[in-house]
């Protein structure tokens, strides 16, 4: 069996890699939670790349319905076409468009399906997908056709924990919580993005970054992706290392809230 490993531009912890491999072996969806900016979405990309499979992304929004992922029956188009007796109006199948989940089932090869930010959707959303994710098939009422996965897709689901997910759904998943990276892992991660980053600059930036995260009453903790942006800005700006802590250049990249900014500037950083 193929196993997932860290790729050139995605550094995964052993536990994370193991969780992907377990989920594949047990053929269950992998549910990934973690602070924003810890690379939940990137994981799916990395898995697809490492395994040489196509990635299908289903981005969930607050208005997304489970049905949207299966198929959409374009009745309006059919209505218009019907007016002028266009060819093929009586073929309903022509107006059935598969959603992302349907697309993933219908592929001739195994794909990686990312259901991104499942918690954005309605409370009932995950429940509506139980059968489909369990059996990897669904039925199109209008055409009396059953779409069944030819190859069980590798399903990766991310959640920012904005809403609690129903138990019945959770029971069917493999769960992994991405811890905030330790300094060592963080260094690796930044270096994957900027292989030539100067060690001193990186160290100074990371020290400030972790200090900000440790400020007790900070409202929004800065995340990995914000550190990466900041290191990039510092490099482009050619800021001398010694000045990073004293003048906090481009700090707006890391700290986004007014209150936090004040806190950091007022010397929350000791």
């Amino acid at each position: 069996m193929q196993e997932f490993q860290s790729t050139n531009d995605y550094v995964a912890s052993e536990e994370l890699m193991a969780s992907v491999n377990i989920a594949m072996a047990l053929q269950k969806p992998l549910l990934i939670k973690g602070e924003p900016g810890t690379g939940k979405t990137e994981l799916a990309r990395a898995v697809a790349q490492a395994m040489g499979k196509e990635l299908i992304i289903w981005n969930i929004k607050s208005t997304t319905k489970a049905q949207d992922g299966l198929y959409i029956y374009d009745t309006i188009q059919r209505l218009y076409d019907g007016q002028f007796g266009e060819k093929g109006v009586d073929d309903i199948a022509q107006y059935i468009k598969l959603g992302k989940l349907g697309e993933a089932f219908d592929k001739d090869e195994q794909v990686v399906l990312l259901i991104d930010e499942i918690d954005k959707a309605d409370l009932e959303f995950p429940n509506d997908l139980l059968w489909e994710l369990d059996r990897m098939e669904f039925y199109i009422n209008e055409t009396k056709r059953t779409v069944k996965a030819k190859h069980r897709p590798i399903v990766i689901i991310t959640s920012n924990a904005e809403k609690e997910l129903p138990d019945a759904f959770l029971r069917r998943c493999i769960f992994h919580y991405i811890d905030f990276p330790s300094k060592e892992l963080m260094e690796q991660i930044v270096k994957v993005h900027f292989p030539d980053v100067e060690d001193n600059l990186l160290k100074a930036a990371m020290d400030v970054f972790y200090d900000i995260r440790n400020i007790h009453d900070i409202r929004k903790k800065p995340s990995t992706s914000e550190l990466i942006d900041w290191v990039n800005a510092l490099q482009l700006g050619g800021i001398p290392t010694a000045k990073i802590r004293s003048t906090l250049p481009f700090i707006g990249v890391v700290v986004k809230k007014d209150e936090d900014l004040e806190l950091v500037k007022k010397g929350g950083l000791s």
Binding site: E15, A23, D167, L170
Partner: protein, 401 residues
């Protein structure tokens, strides 16, 4: 296999189902755990635990069941079976206790053990960062409330994986625990009752307007013309005022649930949340700690949050009479020259819809609880339960008399 582990997990409050446990067996059969207890730890956690808030409970259960194996980084199938027996577990605990006594090199009494145990826990955290460390463990209780079956056992550092017992020992998921009494999904569902649809919002037209479509199509002599309209959206604005006084402490997890439920309901137009200490006076606090200075003026709130806000006051309404009626009492924070009762009347006057949720409301009339009775006269009061919340939501949505 590992039925004891299953039972321990459930006893610790991790709601593992049989299905999940069978999944774990399948993983074992497929050899996904390899032959290391550390890998077993991670695989079991991925399959059995579905929220990071339960990681800590899982750690405790894992430790209780498999503590004896912690010096073994590699264990064979034989060993796993051996671990499965509970009487051996007891023996292992015994051994660990002896081990402690030896290393401490003297006979010690319980207090002493506790003291050392605390020290050990502290040391361990410090050393943990250093790289090689000792692990003091909490598990089956032998020594009073600390629950300390104490052993200091060196765990060999592994590369890559963080060893299971170093994770367990560090208890790094302790902060995630929530120990919630009630699943707040029920609360969230109750809050969905607060809906007042309005189509005057700034959103794309994504719904078929049947009436206008028919009109337009007819006026074009039957040539179809599809008309769309904006879907109707919830226009409810919600304000939550929560009591954070000392008498509310027993209910903090309940309040937390309520707060989470409101916070996670993203279908409101706006949600405001403020705190008060025992009774509402001239200032409302921004945080539950109610620190003076970190507040807004109640009058500012009246000015900035119009009367359409639906107000939910959460509190036990157990003010002392002087807290409610005196205008010069010794309160936390200023009162602007008015008594608490006057302030409550102002709230009532300003907002069209106010309900009070009380976690320990007395049933019916209860004249001995003077403050509660007074508040009940001002606002409709409901007990803070799922049923009470549902009634309160109904009250908030009732048309104005």
């Amino acid at each position: 296999m590992f039925l004891t582990f299953f039972e321990t997990l459930r006893a610790k409050g991790v709601h593992v189902t049989l299905g999940e446990f069978l999944d774990l067996q399948e993983a074992l059969d497929k050899g996904l755990c390899g032959s290391s207890i550390t890998q077993f730890y991670y695989v079991a956690r991925m399959i059995l635990v579905k929220t990071e808030t339960d990681y800590d409970k899982f750690d405790m259960a894992f430790e209780e069941c498999f503590k004896a194996a912690e010096r073994e980084t590699e264990i064979g199938a034989q060993m796993l079976r051996w671990l499965d027996k509970s009487e051996m577990l007891e023996l292992a605990h015994e051994e660990a206790r002896n081990h402690l006594n030896q290393t401490e090199d003297l006979q010690i009494d319980k207090d002493d053990v506790e003291e050392k145990f605390k020290q050990r826990l502290k040391d361990q955290n410090e050393e943990h960062n250093g790289g090689s460390f000792w692990i003091g463990t909490m598990g089956k209780t032998s020594f009073g409330n600390m629950g300390g079956n104490v052993g200091g056992v060196r765990v060999g550092g592994q590369t890559g994986y963080q060893s299971a017992f170093s994770v367990v020992g560090a208890r790094k998921y302790r902060d995630f625990r929530d120990d919630r009494v009630m699943d707040n999904r029920q609360f969230q569902l109750a809050f969905r009752r607060l809906r007042q649809f309005s189509a005057n919002l700034d959103i794309p037209e994504s719904e078929l307007d049947i009436d206008r479509t028919i009109d337009k199509t007819c006026s074009q002599g039957g040539v179809l013309s599809i008309q769309m309209k904006k879907p109707r959206k919830n226009a409810v604005k919600l304000m939550l005022l929560m009591d954070s006084g000392g008498t509310m402490i027993p209910y903090s997890s309940l309040l937390n649930d309520l707060f989470q439920a409101v916070n996670k309901s993203n279908h409101y137009k706006d949600v405001k949340c403020y705190y008060f200490h025992n009774c509402i006076y001239s200032h409302l606090y921004k945080t539950p700690e109610c620190e003076n200075g970190d507040w807004v003026e109640t009058e500012w709130l009246f000015r900035n949050a119009d009367s359409d806000y639906k107000v939910i006051i959460v509190g036990d309404a157990a003010m002392a009479p002087e807290e409610l009626y005196s205008d010069s009492g010794n309160y936390r924070g200023p009162n602007g020259g008015l008594s608490g009762y006057e302030w409550l009347k102002l709230v009532k006057r300003h907002y069209k819809k106010v309900v009070w949720l009380n976690p320990k409301m007395a049933p019916g009339r209860s004249p001995w609880r003077e403050a509660e009775t007074a508040c009940k006269e001002l606002f409709p009061m409901y007990k803070l339960t799922v049923a009470g919340l549902n009634k309160a939501m109904y009250e908030l949505m009732k048309p104005q008399k």
